[in-house]
Amino acid sequence: MSYENKLLQMKKMLKKSAPAKEAKETAFAKPDPPEYADRWEAAGLERIDNSFGTVFRRTVRYQPETVHGTSSLGELKEAAAAWSGSDGVHPFAAGDERKLLFFDTETTGLKGTGSLIFMAGLLSVKEGVFVLDQYVLAGPAHETAFLFETGLWKPGFTVVTYNGKSFDWPQLKTRWTMNREHLPKLGDPDHIDLLQGTRRVWKGGLKSFALKSIEEEILGFHREDDIPGFLAPIIYTDAVKSGSPDLLLGVLRHNEWDLLSLVTLFVRLTSLLMKDNEEPTPLPHTNIGKWFGDLKAYDRSREVLEEVTDLFFDDTDEAYYHLGFLLKREGRHADAEEAFLQALGGGLDDLKALRALEEIAKLNEHRLGNLAKAEINCLRAIGLLKSMDSLKPARKQRWQEAFDKRLERVRKKREKAKG
């Protein structure tokens, strides 16, 4: 029977009541431990009863020598130290090993006030040892107990996540707000989101930025018998409904791997950004150079990009392209033009090629006084534009008008120069 038909058979269940009486929030009533508490304990989870209810925890310790993929966890110390000594410009500069808190959650849904965080994994270094605490929500009635026990309300840490700026932390804030009457206030700690850094560095070089792909492509770590993340919500809701924690342990291991990978990814990104580690292709370095440029660290940016153009023969178009803008900024017009010309080696995407042509035309028209060259490059740009089928019509139109206008002006100037 379809859902609709089933519902219509229930029509008789629907009753109307007198206008609702004022729903009054009563004082906090501590919920009873769930009836399956013993089974979850027996499965290896530690049961904690605090003043708000019950929460479960699993704790794992790792020595610094522990290897995860191609790195050991202990390399974090050196990486964090590198940042402590840096100039503070970079988003990762908040790194200090003692304060870093690697953080990852598992939730019952993707958004909204009805999706719960059912597991929070916290990994930090305590007296030289890596300590992972995984808190597990004992049931929907025990959320206050769960959130309180994580201690995330205590100040003095920098949170490190993968996509946490748009997912984990906003989710945590939502949960916190739903329980805010009984909890201490949640702070607003420094936050390093490694997804953002990873995207910047490997943009154009990786198909997927899912953590699992990063592990395989960059960190040399391969999961075996992993439970895919999208199953986690079903496994948890099932564990609550059935009381059986068996599959939940798989989700705990999934979360554990996520957190270990966060540590080694942090190490890897640091060494790339600090130039200690040469990637065999120019792309990450070019991206890093551009990143510094966007952070307005122009000298550092040019340094990195020039290294790319010095060290590599192939795939340097992109580096020349960004270098062109930096040189133009510095007023080195001829060098800038040269860089843009170098950039047109065929490796740029159409839009960037179009911008490079525009820059060449501009430099020649306004700075270098070569009107013929300005005209030729306008025409090249218009030709390129015609072939760009994937561009939205309105946008194409705007480009077309801009180049037409430039071309017309350049031609007039040439006429005048001929006099």
């Binding site: 849904g109 009805g114 809701t237």
Partner: protein
Amino acid sequence: MTLLKKRKTISELVESWLADPEIKSGILHHRVIEGKDARYAPFPESLHPSIRKALESRGIGSLYSHQREAFDLASSGRSFTAVTPTASGKSLCYHLPVLQAVLEDRAARSLYLFPTKALAQDQMADLHRLIEASGEDILSHTYDGDTSPGIRQKVRKSGHIIMTNPDMLHSGILPHHTKWVSLFENLKFIVIDELHTYKGVFGSHVAHVLRRLIRIARYYGSDPVIICTSATIANPKELAEELANREMSLIADNGAPAGKKHFLFYNPPVIHPTFGIRRSAVLEVRDLARRLYEEEVQTIVFAKSRVRVEMLVTYMKEMTKKKLSDTTIRGYRGGYLPSERREIEKGLRNGDIRTVVSTNALELGVDIGQLQACIMTGYPGNIASAWQQAGRAGRRQDEALIIYVAQSLPLDQYVIEHPEYLFGQSPEEARIHPDNLLILMDHLKCASFELPFSLDEPYGEFEVQELLAYLAGEGILVEAGGKWHWMSERFPASEVSLRSASQENVIIIDKTVPRDTTVIGEMDRFSAMTLLHEEAIYIHQGTQYQVEELDWEEKKAYVREVDVDYFTDANLAVELKVISEDETEQLENRTASFGDIAVLAMPTIFKKIRFDSHDNIGSGPITLPAEEMHTSSAWLSFERPADWSESDLTDTMTGAAYAMHSFIPLFVSCDRSDIHVVPQVKAVHTGKPTFFVYDSTPGGIGLSKRVHGMWEELLEQTARHVVSCPCESGCPVCIGAQESGGRVKERVADLFGKLSG
């Protein structure tokens, strides 16, 4: 030497027309409604000086009486509904108390609801001007799909006035209420503009969205006052009370001035007496509009579709084609950009534009100022809309002219024959039906997602514990610690569309521009069978689209914009099964029942029908699987007249059903497509000839329930209309086109007579 042409007043113009043989024969009625003076009230003592300053800077030195009443009610914490005809200064009814609240307490927040994004954006401009003139720092902003991500957070945290629409509230705000704490903790006013648009399925959904909104507001400790404004409908107070689930005061007495109004009812001449076909209303409208243009009377012409708007504009421009880039005649339809609207408004104000031809888009709140004359091309479908369109004419105390031009359609002809229908009675009631279990269940899920229900908590006026237990049984909720917790990865709001009652909708995708495909709407799958089959002409906001592909598996219809002079009408093979008979009324000559039915429907063929003339110009097959729907139905059975053959009965019932279907919208205030009429010569359930009238909406929306209560009236009126139709043996205006010389029309009248007895 030419004499200086003197402009005629409206009265003089009407007089000259009534004396003009060329035009007077078409004028069936002339009616004058006298004007009334404005009634003012002084500014309230308590009115904040900055607001007073802002009003005075606009040249407003006192309020209309209804605006003052609104302010006083709102200030005393009473929810109310104000009936505000076009151009009566309705927005001050809510702006004033809302701004006052902010100026008295900077933490105060208000939420404005408009039925569409465009209206919210229009109102934002208006409110911004008022705030600017007050010199106060008050943040008001729209919050909808177009709001840039950069400003969203600021609007959430510190917007004093949030202007949004029900859809956004439903899926973008309520399920994320933790991001709106400062709004919900301090919510003083909820403003519902254009109340009358919240009817039918949409209104029923919105009623639930409001129940959810109030529930969240209470959770955060606020108890907002609700302010509604509505066009003239029969039951504004009742509608508002049902929508908001609370008592409302009513401000019905409007203090705005109105000028004298001349109404002309114009019927195009019959050009084909046998088939009762009249000259095209569009052509008549063109001629009338030309006359007004030449008399320099600023006129708005309403047409029902974009195509007709464009047709009229093209015809009219013939007159001015000798002038270079003439802009005295403009089209206006849905989807215009705000800048284009501003340009048209400006043109009307300074007199550059003399005639504007519009789709019904303008009916809804958009303010383009007032004109001198209004022409309706065809009856807009209900009394409320007719008055709203008529309200566009009449600048302050000046006289206005409203011309209604009838088309060759049943309702149009009925109205022109019965002017009392328009003048003599109050406009329709707008009805909602929040009890529809499918709709209720959808929103109960959303409400559970937003905030767990406790074990003794009602939802709005509903006792829902049994329903919550059902949801727990389905594995969506879990009961723990005295509450029903959401325990599913789903996000229920995204599975519920406010514009339809079905679970699974067909998404309508416009691929007119291949690289710029956009979703333009959705439709429940039951309606989609007859409206979105391949080759169907689908009209969306006055624009015609042709369906190129209907992917039934994926529930997607791909459409492309076209411009054709026909529409499509699909035949549906329908099987009906009565599930429960809840009420029965046995009379001597008929048995009327009401209950739930299952409809098994399969579309068979579609016809292409030309506009206006309704000629059939082609057809094709539809291949789609059968669909089942449960809904409510009213049915009427009777004994077969002894002297009628089976085929007599079939033809007669088909004709009678056609006539009834045309008239039901008139009685229960709905669109033709909201209701179905199916004649069965021998129904399985009754074993007798039976007419089934059922709601198109799964679960029913209360329409057939109302039909059940008014059979007598419906049968009598329909009979009278059929009898008085001037055609010989049946035409599209009464019982549908018939072969000439037949006796069907006679029999239909006979049957109606027998039934209403």
